[in-house]
Symmetry: C2
Subunit: 216 residues, 2 copies
């Protein structure tokens, strides 16, 4: 019974928060999430690392529908250093994509470009490892560009369309305006603004903060 | 002879750059410098770490007159991790001040406040080490607030005074506007805007970049 009440409370809280985010998004306010380093794997690389019979094990949903944190962990290895215990995000993608911060890139000794997720042309490859098994990726190493996930209703209310660029202000302890931020409009999106840990640290960000689109 | 020409060339280059920075500052443009983690030591802590007869060994001038990188290195040790090979900045100060980034703070497992350099009331202490010698500082651990070092002539030209706060835009690969940035006007200053590595990485900063003050 207590457990049922917990589940109900959580479900209701999520619904209220979602309604809140929907209303705020139409006014240009978006909740901000900071993404840590993570890897999206293609099926071939996942099989190579975790075996032909592998299946990514769901442990937590992410805010974007269908995306989840996998139980599997791996290492990313560069010429100057390595990152262990790196999260694998499911489901699998057409191409392996390794997203690190600039701080991570310096530690690894690599120089990946700033890129939108999925835009992997001419990106460097990197070594990924699971225990004794190592794979050299076919490209895919990037520092992810910040972006705003937006539902069509919010975009319409704001007069924006997919691919538009906006300024986004965060009134955090170290207030910042992220300029030239890409808007991604998708029917299946949840309204969220995504930054990486360098950007989060630069802003003095803490989870739960909202920021707002500034019209130029 | 070749060496004399090198020295002359370097001196002339510095003079030209200084003149350039002076002219640009009056228009609101400032060269940006990213400060890595570093420690300023009080004489007592310096003696404890390096011996009663120590002297900080100059190896490089910093942009602010009189400030220099010392040859001495030390470690900063927190409950969750340690930073080795940390730079000591000379000359000595009245109080020891340890400046780390938020990324560093997470690694150390500490939670220092954002503070202006020198404003150390109620700041946490931290363990600093030189080999086998360890000292617990009397407070002094901060994440330094970004700031603009400004000469009085530039401040006058811009209608600003010491302690004013401005927005500062950097048109870097990840363009950012740092809002609410403190202006420090000092007769002996060099015109420079200072950020830390988290802020540099968030902006996609590279050395030599200039940014500009935005009037609200």
């Amino acid at each position: 019974m207590s457990n049922q009440i917990d589940v109900l409370t959580e479900t209701l809280t999520d619904l209220v928060l979602d309604r809140l985010r929907t209303g705020l998004a139409a006014e240009g306010w978006f909740q901000v999430e900071a993404s840590g380093r993570h890897v999206h794997l293609c099926v071939d690389d996942a099989k190579a690392l975790f075996g032909d019979d592998y299946a990514l094990t769901w442990i937590k949903d992410l805010s974007q529908p269908g995306q989840f944190v996998g139980k599997q962990r791996m290492s990313v290895v560069g010429p100057a250093g390595r990152l262990d215990n790196v999260v694998v995000i499911g489901p699998e993608r057409e191409r392996t994509q390794i997203e690190v911060s600039m701080t991570d890139a310096r530690l690894l000794g690599v120089n990946p470009p700033f890129r939108d997720s999925g835009n992997l042309a001419d990106t460097p490859s990197i070594r990924i490892e699971n225990g004794d098994i190592a794979v050299a990726t076919r490209g895919g190493l990037i520092v992810a560009e910040r972006h705003i996930h937006m539902r069509p209703e919010a975009a319409q209310a704001l007069g924006l369309k997919d691919g538009d660029r906006v300024d986004f202000a965060l009134d955090s302890p170290r207030p910042l305006t992220f300029r030239d931020v890409k808007v991604r409009v998708l029917e299946t999106a949840s309204n969220f603004m995504h930054i990486d840990y360098d950007e989060a640290n630069a802003a003095g960000f803490s989870p739960g903060m909202f920021g707002s689109i500034k019209r130029n």
